[in-house]
């Protein structure tokens, strides 16, 4: 049993290394246990019995990689997921943002763009969108394409609406979308202020100075080192006294950068960059 585990670990290492060298997606510092589960799912879905045979296929067939990648970057979100977080942003953080002439917000790990559009709607209702810039980044180019489209299955929109109202939405979510028979498409005006780009928290650095980073349910998949690196990148990107919002299951408590931040709305995992932090 031990030998099997060990050989599987070696296989997993080789897979991650191969993926990184070949396609420049760096999962090497993602949490092992989670990686193992995901790779296992990918094996089932792609009908392979061993990681090595999967690696063999991925290395020689980019289409197989395209099928494999979604299993690794799987991420779900809703618009205004965890409404209390968004309410806290609206009530507590936005007043600070509005003091900046050009507030900039970074949604790291935007997935299919739900949070980016939520942020745009929130800023629009607070009268900030016209002068704001939202950066929405993700590691997966496929996700970004989906995010740019901004069209979601109709049946998801019901929970979006509920969340929206709960998060202190000032109008009706239907003001921001039009429907086709199967999808709700968010209006282009929202997208105008969002810049979608691919960005890898494992390898890339900060690219702009922002006042708010919202990175939810992403760090959870990283190991401690990578978490520290990512928070470091956020710390670099944030202007002094900028805000960092994390997912409800994430915390800065064990982070190397813990001292750089102070809790701002502790129960919603919203932190503020400390005064002396660089």
């Amino acid at each position: 049993m031990n030998a099997t585990n060990e050989s599987q670990d070696v296989e997993l290492d080789l897979l991650l290394e191969g993926v990184f060298r070949m396609y420049h997606y760096d999962f090497r510092q993602y949490v092992r246990s989670s990686l193992r589960r995901r790779v296992h799912q990918a094996l089932l879905a792609l009908k392979h019995t061993s990681i090595t045979s999967l690696l063999d296929r991925i290395l020689h067939d980019p289409r197989a990689f395209a099928q494999f990648l979604p299993h690794m970057t799987i991420q779900v979100s809703d618009m205004f997921r965890d409404p209390s977080y968004w309410l806290a942003l609206r009530k507590r953080v936005v007043p600070h943002l509005s003091t900046y002439p050009f507030p900039r917000v970074w949604i790291a790990g935007c997935g299919a763009g739900e949070e980016a559009y939520s942020m745009a709607i929130l800023l629009a209702e607070e009268g900030l969108l016209a002068r704001a810039q939202i950066y929405a980044t993700d590691i997966s180019v496929e996700s970004l394409a989906e995010a740019k489209a901004g069209a979601y299955q109709l049946d998801r929109v019901r929970s979006f609406s509920d969340n929206y109202f709960e998060s202190g939405g000032k109008a009706s979510l239907s003001d921001y979308y039009v429907t086709t028979s199967s999808r709700a498409c968010f209006v282009p005006a929202l997208r105008e202020r969002i810049l979608f780009a691919d960005h890898c928290l494992a390898t890339d650095t900060a690219f702009a100075e922002v006042q708010l980073v919202s990175c939810r349910n992403v760090l959870i998949y990283f190991d401690r080192t990578l978490q520290d690196r990512a928070v470091g990148v956020f710390c670099d990107a944030l202007s002094p006294r900028g805000f960092l919002g994390l997912g409800d299951k994430e915390t800065l408590r064990f982070s190397a950068h813990m001292k750089a931040f102070e809790p701002f709305v502790a129960e919603e995992k919203i932190y503020r960059k400390g005064e002396r932090a660089t």
Binding site: S172, D175, T179
Partner: protein, 1017 residues
């Protein structure tokens, strides 16, 4: 921090001075003056030192000085004093020594207490510093710094045991080595650190050799003098090692401190490890929770898809039943038609028999008649000949001329009668053939001999030749063959004024014999070629025709050649002479029907012969199929032909599997999914048409191109059923190569092409967008002319045709397409906005596969139909296109049959809402106020409610609250219709329990959006 046991040298100097002073004083004074008592002072002072031996030593020294002082002091002035002094000094010495020993005990106790204090203080300090939730690294650092400062160590590190029992350096103090180096990992029992952990005891090392850790500062480096390694433990199990380096030798007190700190530090380490583990586990649990959520969501999606599929399946089941019913009806209708047909057939058969009888009567009559005619004619001819001879010489020149005319005319009449007799004999089936070996050279020589004089007379050159390598002998009826050659030569000579007539024998394809008669005569216009073989017809049918003759010669020729199993062809043009070619088999073909004997020309079934050859299957590639190769399935029971096809397939780099029966063929199609099929029609178990039909009805196989090869002409039917090509047996190799080439093209051509014929540019673009995807190339044409040109130039898989075109209409285009000689016309889908009459529809039906009238739902149907005709395998469609197709089909199913309750008192709004939603297929109920609405909800069970707020009797807010209070309808979606008047209207609606709201005046698009979103699935 001061360590216990450190001595103050000043104290000792003081003691020495005091002892020295006392001694000097004692020596200076005379005996009896008991100055030695002063020795007690240093002795008492020595109690303040930290060395237990000091009071003893001082006591003994003082005692000896007391004795020495007695000896050295001057004698006492008073007698007897010396004795008393002796006693005193003796007692004093004893007291001093005794006091020294008491002092030793005192100091020892004091020192022990101090050490204990120091140790305790150290522990307290340590536990203070260890307090708080720390990770192992932080904890190690504070333990080290506390200890090092407290005991005065210059360098230190702490090792913590991990799960595997290995010791890892957790932290360092004043250390010049990185934390993550190789030296930070120690296996149990290895190195001093490991040894200490294994022995669970403190180890002190003095005189640390070179190469050990240096103590570094900004200005220099030095080696520590001594090392102390101490284990830490939790509940008796060693879980770490503390290593400290000193410049001074460590004291025993420190060992005590390290020993007593082992447990608290060990426990602190353990709790820190627990905490870290707990944090890890917590994170892991949260991660799993998140992943679980992801999986749940995926599961939900899968579930929904399954449900959707189930729904579609049910739908298709219903459709299937409907189709079944229709099929049954059609079957019944067909049965009726069949009955009618068979009765009609009976009538026909009777008629045919009558006709045949009549024809036989006619032929018999003609045969008899000509015989009856010939007898008197013969006498007339003989008599005329006698008259011409004019043996008596009693006739004038003129009279002889008359007789000559009678003779010539009579001869002509006789030829005519003979010809008619021949023809009627053939037609009546009374001509018997005798096949024998015919020497072609002799036959030709005879013919030459016969026509030589005639030719010479007309000054024509007569050439008779047999090609080198040409046939010498053949199996045929020599009499009839000779008759054919004679007829042809006679014609040639007759119609040629100058030049030559050539009779040529040569070898034809497949060992046939070619006999051609070529002349340089008048020639025959192309449009009359078909006439010359008709009985009683000549090319020049005008009354003043130049050449005599009955015109029966060529028709007799054709009939005879037919009988002999060959064919006759003509090549001629006016002024260029004519060439008649007779193609005859070198031996009579047994399988070929001979009309002379059967009379009707029906084909003899030769299944018996085939059954024999299909007993042994032809060897094929089914055992050696390589994945990814192109496999062609040959359905053919004729062993020889199957082998030919197989070899040809191999030559053209196809793999080949051969099926000898329809059953096997279908089995193989299902399992092998061949790339192409070559299909014979006459199979032992079923007709090839059955195979064709079943393959084309199988969705997963219908894209496979099928080429039909048959002796029967089922071309039209097969093509309609979807065959890509048709070839009549016997098939030439070239035809087969062409068929394979077409397969190749179809396999290679991934992109399917569609021609869109539509004059309106917007429509054209819309259709192009609708149909376009990666696998489909769309060509468009604005009018019929361009469409035809494009159809000529390339092959399309499907044509979408608008009927209303400028110039040539769609109808005419269809007719022209049908008339064109292209081997396979693509299926045509008529897509038109025009209403059609029944006749028009029937007219279209002949050529078009389906007709779609433009309307709201038509794009989906067009997409469906085109997809069908493109023969794209479902799996080949891109997934998003599939989804789109499915979604397109689902369009507005969101609304179909769903009940929407409009609660509104303003009639204009009711009207506006109804007219927006009803066309989508929704069933609209109306309630005029809240109370009514509640009743309606109970009665009608609507799927969604549109609720106005301001209403009489019961307003919308109250009604909404009421609905939410009732259990059954608590999840009913409610969309509030608010007037914009009040700013907090919105919040009130939401608070009352509305799911969403829309402000008046109502934007219909938005309302539809909201209904789509909130309508329960």
């Amino acid at each position: 921090m001061k360590r216990p046991g450190e001595d103050r040298t000043g104290l000792y100097v003081l003691i020495a001075l005091m002892v020295g002073g006392g001694f000097a004083l004692d020596v200076a004074t005379h005996v009896g003056l008991e100055v030695w008592v002063l020795y007690f002072i240093p002795l008492i002072v020595s109690l303040f030192t930290t060395r237990p031996i000091a009071p003893v030593a001082i006591g003994v020294m003082c005692a000896s000085l007391v004795v020495a002082g007695y000896v050295l002091s001057p004698a006492a002035p008073v007698e007897g004093v010396a004795q008393i002094s002796q006693v005193n000094r003796a007692l004093g010495s004893v007291a001093l020594i005794g006091l020294g020993f008491v002092g030793r005990q005192l100091i020892a106790t004091k020192v022990r207490l101090a050490v204990q204090d120091w140790v305790n203080e150290g522990r307290v300090l340590l536990s203070e510093r260890m307090r708080g939730e720390r990770n192992v690294h932080d904890l190690g650092r504070s333990v080290l710094s506390t200890l090092a400062e407290y005991v005065g160590a210059q360098v230190g590190s702490i090792y913590v045991a991990n799960k595997g029992g290995n010791l890892m350096r957790a932290s360092g103090y004043g250390l010049d080595a990185p934390l993550d180096g190789k030296a930070n990992f120690v296996a149990p029992g290895q190195t001093l650190v490991g040894q200490v952990a294994a022995n669970a005891s403190i180890l002190v090392v003095y005189d640390v050799p070179d190469g050990y850790i240096d103590v570094r500062s900004g200005t220099g480096a030095a080696k520590p003098r001594a090392l102390v390694l101490a284990p830490t433990d939790a509940d008796g199990a060693v879980n770490g090692v503390i290593e400290l380096g000193f410049f001074t030798p460590p004291s025993a007190a420190m060992n005590a401190l390290l020993t007593s700190a082992a447990a608290p530090v060990g426990i602190a380490i353990r709790s820190a490890q627990y905490r870290e583990r707990l944090a890890d586990l917590l994170e892991e649990a949260q991660r799993q929770a998140e992943e679980l959520e992801v999986q749940q969501r995926e599961l939900k999606i899968t579930n929904e898809e399954l449900e959707e599929r189930g729904h579609a399946l049910k739908q298709s089941h219903v459709e299937l039943e409907e189709t079944n019913r229709q099929l049954e009806e059609q079957a019944r209708a067909l049965e009726m038609q069949k009955d009618q047909l068979s009765s009609a057939q009976g009538v026909l058969r009777k008629k045919a028999a009558e006709v045949e009888r009549a024809s036989r009567y006619k032929s018999e009559f003609l045969a008899n008649m000509s015989h009856e005619l010939r007898t008197p004619l013969n006498s007339a001819l003989i008599l005329a000949k006698l008259l011409i001879d004019n043996k008596q010489g009693n006739l004038t020149r003129e009279q002889i001329q008359f007789a000559t005319n009678i003779y010539t005319a009579g001869n002509d009449l006789l030829t005519l009668i003979n010809d008619i007799l021949d023809l009627s004999k053939i037609e009546a089936g009374k001509l018997d053939l005798t096949f024998e070996s015919v020497d072609l050279a002799r036959l030709f020589a005879a013919s030459k001999q016969r026509f030589e004089p005639l030719a010479r007379e007309k000054k024509l050159e007569l050439v008779v030749t047999i090609d080198p390598g040409g046939p010498v002998r053949m199996e045929s009826d020599s009499v009839r063959l000779k008759q054919v050659i004679t007829n042809l030569l006679s014609n040639a000579v007759k119609f040629t004024e100058q030049g030559s007539v050539t009779l040529r024998g040569s070898a034809g394809p497949r060992g046939d014999v070619l006999i051609s008669v070529e002349d340089t005569g008048v020639g025959i216009p192309a449009d009359q070629h078909h006439l010359i073989f008709e009985a009683f017809k000549q090319a020049d049918g005008t009354p003043n025709r130049k050449y005599g003759g009955t015109g029966l010669g060529l028709s007799i020729c054709r009939e005879l050649v037919d009988l002999l199993g060959g064919e006759i062809r003509v090549k001629s043009a006016p002024g260029e002479g004519s060439t008649f070619t007779v193609l005859l088999p070198s031996r009579p073909n047994q399988s070929e029907p001979t009309r002379g004997t059967t009379g009707t020309g029906a084909e003899k079934p030769n299944g018996h012969q085939r059954a024999d050859v299909s007993l042994a299957p032809v060897e094929d590639d089914r055992a050696a199929l390589t994945p990814g190769s192109r496999v062609v399935l040959v359905v053919e029971d004729d062993r020889v032909f199957a082998t030919i096809l197989r070899d040809l397939a191999h030559e053209l780099r196809f793999q080949c599997v051969i099926a000898g029966s329809a059953g096997e063929a279908l089995e193989l199609v299902r399992h092998l999914k061949p790339a192409a099929i070559i299909l014979d029609m006459g199979l032992p178990d079923h007709s090839g048409l059955t195979v064709l039909d079943l393959v084309k009805r199988d969705a997963s196989a219908r894209h496979i191109p099928i080429h039909v090869v048959s002796v029967h002409d089922y071309q039209q039917v097969a093509r309609e059923m979807g065959a890509v090509g048709y070839a009549l047996k016997p098939v030439k190799r070239e035809q087969l190569v062409v068929a394979f080439d077409r397969f190749e093209e179809q396999i290679a051509r991934k992109a399917r092409s569609v021609l869109v014929v539509e004059d309106d540019a917007t429509q054209r673009e819309a259709i192009t967008k609708l149909l376009g995807n990666d696998g489909v190339a769309i060509t468009s044409a604005p009018n019929a002319e361009e469409a035809l040109a494009k159809l000529d130039g390339e092959t399309f898989d499907c044509v979408v045709l608008d009927l209303m075109l400028p110039g040539t209409s769609g109808f005419e285009l269809l007719d022209q397409m049908a008339k064109s000689d292209k081997p396979s016309l693509p299926p045509v889908i008529v897509y038109t906005a025009r209403g059609l009459s029944l006749e028009e529809e029937q007219r279209l039906r002949r050529h078009a596969r389906s007709i779609i009238i433009k309307g709201a739902r038509s794009p989906e149907r067009l997409l469906e139909e085109v997809t069908l005709f493109l023969h794209q395998v479902a799996a080949d469609l891109p997934e998003d296109k599939l989804r789109m197709l499915r979604e397109a089909l689902d369009r507005e199913t969101v609304f179909t049959g769903r009940r929407i309750l409009i609660v509104e008192d303003d009639i204009r709004n009711i009207f506006a809402l109804t007219s927006a939603l009803e066309p989508k297929g929704a069933i609209i109920d109306v309630a005029r106020n809240g109370k009514e609405a509640l009743c309606r909800i109970e009665a009608e069970r609507p799927d969604i409610v549109l609720m106005d707020i301001m209403m009489p009797e019961m307003d919308g807010l109250t009604a909404t609250r009421e609905i939410r209070k009732r259990g059954r309808s608590s999840s009913l979606p409610i969309i509030a219709l608010t007037a914009k008047a009040m700013p907090d209207d919105r919040q009130q609606c939401l608070d009352a329990g509305a799911n969403d709201y829309i402000a008046k005046p109502i934007d219909v698009e938005k309302l539809v959006s909201l209904c789509r979103v909130w309508m329960p699935r």
